[in-house]
């Protein structure tokens, strides 16, 4: 666990809640700021944006995060003007608000990792001030509410009620007090308090009558005595990393090295927790029943009824266990919309950067996927969107010239197909030319001319995933890192997923990512190699064939198998895993064909033992990572077996053969 930012556990808990809440508010903001660009007159939306900034300001000021509170205050100011229609929303304002959003996001992120917030934001603050005050920026559309202000000054209510002068009337009618925005002076504060006093007197009178009418039907509980004795103030205590109290501000200058991220907290739907509660109740019932039956069976070992009850109870526990398993899994699931949330902003910024017009369509946001997978998908997704904006969608002029709509479209789509999540990133841009891709790969020495000539279009598209192929990636503010498509593919493979491309020249491209629903549980194909049992992830198994000698031969010392018209490299699992005394002949053995994208190999095993749902456990620290092994699992009979890392094996085979990955 990381060092908490606050000493006081209560404050630390509030802080963790604050992080979750602010994250959500920022997500809302980035969505709403995208929409407001298209619906500038949506007052409801402006109010919502105001409220989100407003809440961030309020809670941040309580937490003592003055940088966030300060900058948010400026955003709030400008939104107040928008709300009151004193200012009309325009692009520079939205840009500014997005920038403020980013600054808050960055600050919150540093707080989360235990750093202090810092930075000089005077530039953006000056910009906001400029936008706020029309005089400084003449090009801003502005609706000054001159009529209202003018009328207010004319309509003096003083004449109406000058007979009974009161603090309340004074506050209600005092123009200076009413229209001003500055901090109150002492006298004004006293006047305001006096006005509240009057309201409260009236309140007491009104309610005295009510009480009389209502009789004593309703019990009003006695308030505890509220005395004016001083209350010990609980100020947020911050862990001092350095020896001295350097400042009064709640945030101490924490050494960055000492700071670690706060433990992660997730929000879970109450219904899901309740389902789990119910299920665990059933599990307890089953366990109790099992204990009972065990006792009874010990007394009468041959009683058939008892044995039947035992198998019934076992079946019930089996059912409940798998229900619990899936319920726990669902707790880790989040809608993929969480991942797509940032896309509108990215597309907006990139369209601006590349001078393109791009519309983003998002579908299937409600599709759920494991939280861990979502986090790992962010960077690949950003890169692919960037790729589509940059290389896919044409410039507006070009599009018009070839008869396409001026505005290009990028579509993000998600869907669950069986035990997989399928994501599609498509664009209606220029598409890819397989011949050009092949030529470039030959030129870069990645493939030979011969390989290029036998390559299908689909295989040619995969070339862009090769390291060193796409070097033209400019490091930009949006992608943040200069990652290439090879990193995208590696990330996806690390998630046990695969990525494929389909493209039609002139019409557009589609990237298809297939991922497992969760990383923790997979369907495994159990195989035997000598005396050992191994599991292969079923998701990567394409087919299983019995070996027949005639289909096996050698190319450049690489054993290959011909299956129908395809020739696949062969990998003997016993050799690869260095099992003792490997068999030399291939008689009576089986080949499991596994694939990753367009790369396929045949894995030679002794026997097939059937399939089973397996829970992946890491190998543990002392074993470290073993080449070719992804992890281990425990079978129903208690045996620990290894899970084969298909990705690694495929890479191993292809690194040795003429085909490079």
């Amino acid at each position: 666990m990381g060092a908490p930012l606050f000493n006081d556990p209560e404050m630390q808990e509030i802080f963790e809640g604050y992080l979750i809440e602010t994250r959500e508010l920022l997500d809302n903001l980035s969505q709403d700021l995208m929409i407001i660009e298209k619906q500038p007159d949506d007052l409801e939306l402006i109010n919502g944006i105001f409220r989100n900034f407003h809440t961030i300001k309020g809670t941040s000021s309580f937490m003592g995060f003055s940088v966030i509170a300060g900058i948010t205050h400026h955003a709030e100011d400008i939104l107040n003007k928008l709300r009151r229609n004193e200012l009309k929303i325009n692009l520079p304002i939205i840009d500014c608000l997005l920038q403020v959003h980013d600054i808050i996001e960055g600050s919150v992120e540093s707080l989360r990792t235990g750093e202090i917030e810092s930075g000089d934001f005077s530039e953006i603050i000056n910009k906001i001030e400029e936008l706020k005050n029309p005089g400084a920026a003449p090009d801003i559309e502005l609706l000054v509410n001159e009529d209202t202000t003018g009328n207010k000054k004319d309509s003096s209510k003083k004449s109406k009620k000058d007979t009974q002068k009161s603090a309340l009337d004074d506050v209600l009618t005092n123009q200076e007090l009413v229209s001003g925005q500055d901090d109150f002076s002492e006298e004004e504060l006293a006047l305001i308090q006096a006005a509240f006093e009057e309201v409260n007197q009236q309140f007491v009178q009104d309610n005295a009558q009510v009480a009389f009418i209502q009789d004593s039907g309703q019990q009003v509980s006695q308030p505890e005595k509220l005395s004016s004795e001083p209350v010990i103030e609980k100020k947020p205590e911050i862990k001092q990393v350095e020896h001295s109290k350097t400042t009064n501000a709640p945030i101490a200058k924490a050494g960055a090295a000492a700071a670690k991220p706060a433990s992660e907290t997730i929000r879970i739907d109450v219904n899901r927790v309740e389902t789990l509660m119910d299920l665990s109740g059933e599990l307890v019932l089953g366990r109790n029943r099992l204990a009972q039956i065990t006792d009874l069976i010990q007394l009468e070992p041959d009683n058939k009824d008892r044995i039947r009850e035992l198998s019934e109870t076992t079946a019930q526990i089996d059912f409940v266990t798998s229900e619990i398993q899936s319920a726990v899994m669902r707790m880790r699931m989040v809608p993929i919309g969480k991942l797509y949330q940032k896309a509108p902003r990215i597309v907006r910024d990139l369209a601006k950067e590349f001078n393109k017009k791009i519309n983003l369509v998002v579908k299937g946001e409600e599709t759920e996927i494991d939280r861990g997978i979502i986090e790992e998908l962010n960077d690949p997704l950003v890169h692919m969107i960037r790729n589509s904006c940059d290389h896919g969608v044409e410039s507006p002029e070009e599009r018009v010239k070839i008869g396409k709509p001026e505005i290009g479209t990028i579509t993000l789509d998600a869907d669950q197909e069986g035990n997989n999540i399928v994501l599609r990133i498509s664009d209606d841009g220029r598409g890819m030319d397989p011949e050009k891709l092949k030529a470039k790969a030959v030129e870069k020495g990645i493939i030979t001319q011969e390989q290029a000539s036998t390559m299908t279009s689909r295989e040619a598209f995969q070339l862009i995933f090769l390291p060193g192929f796409s070097t033209a990636v400019k490091v930009s503010s949006v992608s943040g890192r200069g990652v290439g498509m090879d990193v995208v593919r590696t990330n996806i493979q690390n998630l046990k997923g695969m990525i494929e491309i389909d493209s039609t020249l002139g019409t557009g491209s589609i990237f298809i990512i297939k991922l497992p629903l969760t990383l923790a549980i997979i369907q495994g194909l159990l195989v035997r190699v000598k005396n050992e049992t191994y599991a292969l992830p079923l998701s990567s198994v394409l087919e299983v064939v019995a070996i027949d000698d005639e289909s096996i031969y050698s190319i450049n010392q690489q054993e290959v198998i011909r299956i129908r018209k395809e020739v696949l490299p062969l990998l003997r699992l016993d050799l690869a895993l260095k099992v003792k005394d490997p068999k030399t002949d291939l008689k009576d053995r089986n080949v499991v064909v596994v694939g990753l994208g367009t790369h396929k190999i045949g894995i030679v095993v002794d026997d097939l033992l059937g399939q089973q749902e397996i829970v992946i456990k890491s190998l543990g620290e002392y074993l470290g990572s073993i080449s070719g092994i992804a992890g281990s699992t425990i079978l129903g009979d208690g045996r620990v077996i290894m899970i084969i890392d298909v990705t690694q094996l495929i890479q191993l085979v292809f690194s040795k053969t003429i085909f490079k990955m």
Binding site: I14, E21, F50, R51, G58, S61, V199, N200, V204, E233
Partner: protein, 127 residues
């Protein structure tokens, strides 16, 4: 003394509830907006309402107006918690018959003082 704390920010609710707990008030219910507060008020009895101003669906001001119009609830003391220190806002709060207001961020002590002031002013502190 039973409190209803109304705020759309869970963090803010938590801060107010913690302050109340430090004063010894443990009977607290919470609501995330005016509508939720009215629903709570319809099914439970409360002695004191501390409400945020700016909330979705139904603001603290609208909530106050609704409470003041309902004969069965109009006697409830309401303390408005807000970051808005604008003068026109105070006028609106006065018109809606809010019993007092406290500006965020406040210390527990300030909250306590404002609560005391409200109860004293409506004649409940001597009970």
């Amino acid at each position: 003394m039973k409190f209803l704390v109304v705020d759309d920010s869970p963090t803010m609710r938590r801060i107010v509830i913690n302050a109340l707990a430090s004063f010894g008030f443990k009977e607290v219910s919470e609501a995330a907006d005016g509508q939720e507060a009215l629903a709570k008020l319809a099914s439970e009895n409360f002695d004191f309402i501390i409400t945020d101003w700016n909330m979705p669906n139904m603001s603290g001001l609208e909530l106050t107006l609704a409470i003041r119009e309902d004969p069965s609830m109009k006697h409830l003391p309401i303390l408005m918690v807000t970051t808005r220190g604008l003068k026109q806002d105070i006028v609106e709060a006065l018109k809606a018959k809010v019993n007092n207001y406290v500006v965020k961020p406040f210390t527990p002590q300030v909250l306590r003082e404002k609560m005391d002031a409200v109860l004293k002013s409506i004649g409940k502190s001597g009970l």
